[in-house]
């Protein structure tokens, strides 16, 4: 029986800015670093990603998919309160559909033949089936994306202050502008980086009220590299 146990999912993204320019030239990303005195607590990636005061029930399930996402070529995952989205913008729904299939295959591959890290991560969570889908117009840049929704990943409206309380000051604070093809207001994200940039909490300037975490950006290779050393 085909127990589609597990997982799935996901998403993610990411890629370098240069890569993004190549695949979706309409999106321009620029950034500027605001130097701030930092006194981060010494918390490793695993501790950050398993802090019970930050994450909700489905986050470990998504975390367990990171090896599959890496296999599918994803480098970044955008984690929202209720969904996980590929960091790779596609130029069309067809292109996104191809990537969705690639991710789905990778998830199945990892499920049947898990890496040591995947095995350890899957063992730490209740396995459930995740189904990647397509967002035809991602609001901030109108790109198509692979995503898994209907999840509970972190509390909606979680405050940046709460993150600071749990993790200490970020190692770095930067801003990035995400533009669409048109002329509407761009999205400006303030990025609070932890664990050497493996985990980034992002606050959006476009929000009903300031100070909330809009998304968490996971650097998939960096997170996997860290977890391979840190997961007991």
């Amino acid at each position: 029986m085909l127990i589609r146990i597990l997982l799935i999912s996901i998403v993610t993204i990411c890629f370098s800015a240069a890569n993004a320019q190549t695949r979706h030239p309409g999106i321009k990303r620029t950034s500027h670093t605001t130097p701030k005195p930092v006194q981060p607590r010494r918390m490793n990636t695993f501790q950050i990603l398993t802090n019970p005061n930050l994450w909700r029930q489905d986050f470990p399930v998504v975390l367990a998919q990171l090896p599959a996402l890496q296999t599918a070529g994803e480098s970044k995952l955008l984690v929202f309160p209720d969904k996980a989205v590929s960091g790779t913008p596609a130029r069309s729904a067809d292109e996104a559909q191809n990537q969705r299939r690639k991710i789905e295959n990778a998830m199945e591959q990892v499920r049947t033949n898990p890496t040591p890290l995947a095995r350890k991560l899957m063992a730490r969570t209740t396995q459930r089936s995740l189904k990647p889908d397509i967002i035809t117009k991602f609001p901030e840049d109108d790109s198509a994306r692979v995503a898994i929704d209907s999840l509970q990943l972190f509390p909606a409206g979680m405050r940046v202050e709460n993150v600071r309380r749990q993790l200490g000051a970020p190692e770095k604070t930067t801003r990035v502008v995400i533009e669409s093809e048109g002329e509407r207001r761009p999205l400006i994200l303030t990025l609070y980086s932890y664990a050497g940039g493996a985990v980034v909490f992002a606050e959006a300037d476009i929000a009903p009220r300031p100070g909330a975490v809009d998304r968490v950006i996971l650097d998939i290779p960096a997170v996997i590299a860290a977890l391979e050393k840190e997961v007991p």
């Binding site: 620029t30 500027h32 609001p139 048109g182 002329e183 207001r185 761009p186 009903p208």
Partner: protein, 601 residues
Amino acid sequence: MSISSSSTSVLLKALVMAIVWASILVLSSPTLKAQLVDIATNATDPSNLADTEPSIAVNPANHLEIVIVSFSEGWGPGNPGPIWRSTDGGTTWTKLFVLPQPNPSSFSTCDQKVAFDASGNLHVAQLGCGMSPPRCMIFRQTGAPGTALTFGALYGDDQPHLDMDHFAMSAFLGRLYSPWMDFSASPNPRSMTTRSANGGSSVTNVGVGDNGSFPNRTTRVAIASDGKVYVIFKTREGSTSGGFENAHFRVRRSDDGGVNWNALGATGVSVHGSGAVETWFTSSWGNAAKGKVARARSSDAWIAVDPGSGEVYAAYVKKDDSGFGQIYVARSKSLGASWSSTRVTDGTHHSAFPEIAVAQNGTVGVLYVDFDDSGASTIFRHRFARSFNGGTTWSNANLQSMDPGPIGNATSGFLWGDYEGLTAAGNTFYGVFTGQSIGRTTLQLDPIFFRRTAWQIGINPCITKPWLCTLAVMKPNLIKLECPFPDCRVIDPIPRNCLVKFDCPGCAPNGLCPPFYNIFLDGMEDNWRVQLLDPAGKVVNARQVKTATGTVVSFRPAANHFRDGKIDDYHLVFSLGPKGKVKTPYEIKTRLEASNKPFRP
């Protein structure tokens, strides 16, 4: 030697009058700094938001009420989006959360613009970020000022602007026009205009841009007092280098309330002639090697109409022989059919982001930004230029210089937005730009309000309390004076009289200048007092003689106060006398007699 009691009384009276007038007519230089007000405070902006892309509107029924919108808080369930409002002419500001979330999928207010109707009801064009197109809408005031607005029908997508016909003489009084960009149009993105006769409750979209060969951009609207409507847009005709592209800035006109836009032909009229100009299209406006940069893609054109003469003014960007992107203003005396341009800037700095407005007295104002990258970091300057002669010459002044480098919430790539805010109400310019905060605990970008008089001469009350000053209404052989407030000033420029009703003797170069101007003002009685100011705003030692029918102001224009042989900007300034009544029109018969001697009864 003795002084009679009557003489003493006269002397005392004269002394009192002198003191009164000295206090009223405080002289000031035309280069007086604009009043800058950071409209955000630590209390109203606790999250230190950047407040970019601001726009401004002044209530035509009450110039003390001003509303500004900027990119600040968004909206959400139970959390309306904000506007900034002042009820004291811009001195103090409150943030009011009056824009309800129009749709659960929309997480924020995005592109936005404000306008008032003739009755003083606020309207706000909004793009609902997060919604699928159509996602623009007009919020309209249906309750008391400062209470939640009501949103109307959905239309279009991207960069909605807004203006409202508030002119009593217009056949389309109350009509609303909202230009926007249709990026889904074929074969190229097209400039559109939405009209509504019910404040946006229902809307009709009309294509106005010529997108047959090239994509459109930068769509802006202006309404004339007779109801004619003008739209300017650019056709993007290929990039060149250095952040520039070739373009035409075209104007189209509607004479039927926005139904048809063919009054200037099927494709409109290029305001700079047949040849293309080079204008900005860049996401890196500034010097990226020396600091943060801005985006300037829809930041190169604006349009306005003189509310008195109906002349049309279009501000646009053109890279000229100076090598710099410069601000130009084209003027049309023919309802948009033909145009002539002058340069506003001085050819020494890259400039962009022009907004233009025309005051009641015909003075033209242009807000723009330039930058200086000659030092270690790029300094951006918000500047304001005025022309008192229909755009022939310009006087430019700096509003604020800013290095965005150390400003935490200034994000490279989007510093102040695609455009900022400028409008005129009466004879005052009101503007807002996103600049360096003033008096905030944390250095940041904030919306900075400014106000500048449209009078060339410096009359103190007109600068500090511009709503007190109005222009005299001219009729054949008389002027009409009316004070809306007890301390008002009614201004009557003498050159304007010379154009319309006086036969003013001139002064040819190296020729003899005329002797005395004797201006007869019959019917003033004790209702009005009058004073004469020279072009620099100085009180002229004019002789005032009471006659049986009124007052005669007698003076000899200084030889250096003739311009091109014609009398320069002398002004009669009227204020209410002891028996004058507020909000009561008075008609004063006037005539000018030239004489070789001062008037004697």
